[in-house]
Symmetry: C2
């Protein structure tokens, strides 16, 4: 990888973490450059605005989600078990979820209030998961209902993440994940 | 009501709407006074800081929720129907939910990222609903599980609100509300 790309990736990773941990509106251009110990001049060479960085963060997340899902498809053949993999993602990141909620849900909540032009891109992150979830329901034999079921899964995950972070309660997450797994077995 | 109280209430109502519609961090002190056409001097007489206003907004919301729940208790005697009243709240405010999500959930998401000292107060808004929900499950004969069930109800509502606003999809909300009502009938 070229040195410029390495630096660019570092900026995106740092911004990604800061947006998740303290919110997009609350993270300034300087917060990001300060966290990296970079001069403003050097920083501007890579990104002209916070929106540019946001776009790059969303793009990076989207690519990471796609890679994860491809990996899951390779590792797990049964669609029921794939749906459980989705739930496992919540339980394995319970510490993060407890602290900051869902990275996708919280950025979408924030951008929607800001009427931010990048909201559609952020929503695309949900859509990557949703299409994959819909595919699993189709493989289980569901037809038209697959869309509603995929939104239901997203919705369950979002509700669980929000309550877990609001109440700082990892045991709630664990219980709900177990309930969801039981539900998947009935499909 | 004294004239001062009327003005104070007006400020709180306006701030409440702005925090909900555009987020707390994005709403400035001036946004609120401008929306009311008030001079800064007059405004400062009532509130010294945005945090003061946030406290008053949370207090007002908390009181409004308590009043609503008392009304529901009076109007509806069957705990199952009371739980359905909770769900009805979502469906009757579907237009608001589609635009801005849940007023309680979105402020909690935001304050938790800001590590805001008022987060605990905002969480109290959830707690008012949760305790009431827990009570209904107890009336239905549940014991220890009542707490988990009450969190489950909150979580379902939050997930539905977030997906409805992210996808601007009121039909999703309608379908999920119907599913929740069916679930309540099985309790």
């Amino acid at each position: 990888m070229l040195k410029g790309d390495v630096i660019r990736n570092k900026i995106v990773d740092t911004a990604d973490a800061l947006f998740y941990q303290q919110g997009y509106a609350q993270t300034s251009f300087s917060d990001i450059s300060d966290a990296l110990g970079m001069s403003k001049g050097n920083f501007y060479y890579y990104f002209k605005s916070k929106d540019d960085i946001l776009n790059a963060v969303i793009e990076k997340r989207s690519e990471a989600i796609r890679q994860d899902l491809l990996k899951w498809d390779e590792l797990v053949s049964n669609p029921r078990d794939r749906l459980k993999k989705y739930i496992l993602m919540l339980t394995t990141s319970d510490e993060q979820v407890k602290k900051y909620g869902c990275p996708v849900g919280s950025i979408c909540t924030e951008l929607s209030k800001l009427h931010h032009e990048n909201l559609n891109n952020a929503t695309e992150l949900f859509e990557v998961y949703r299409l994959w979830l819909e595919q699993q329901f189709k493989l289980l034999g569901y037809k038209k209902e697959s869309r509603q079921l995929s939104l239901h899964m997203l919705s369950r995950g979002q509700g669980i993440a929000l309550i877990t972070s609001t109440y700082s309660d990892k045991s709630f997450l664990k219980n709900e994940a177990a309930e969801l797994n039981k539900w998947i077995d009935t499909l």
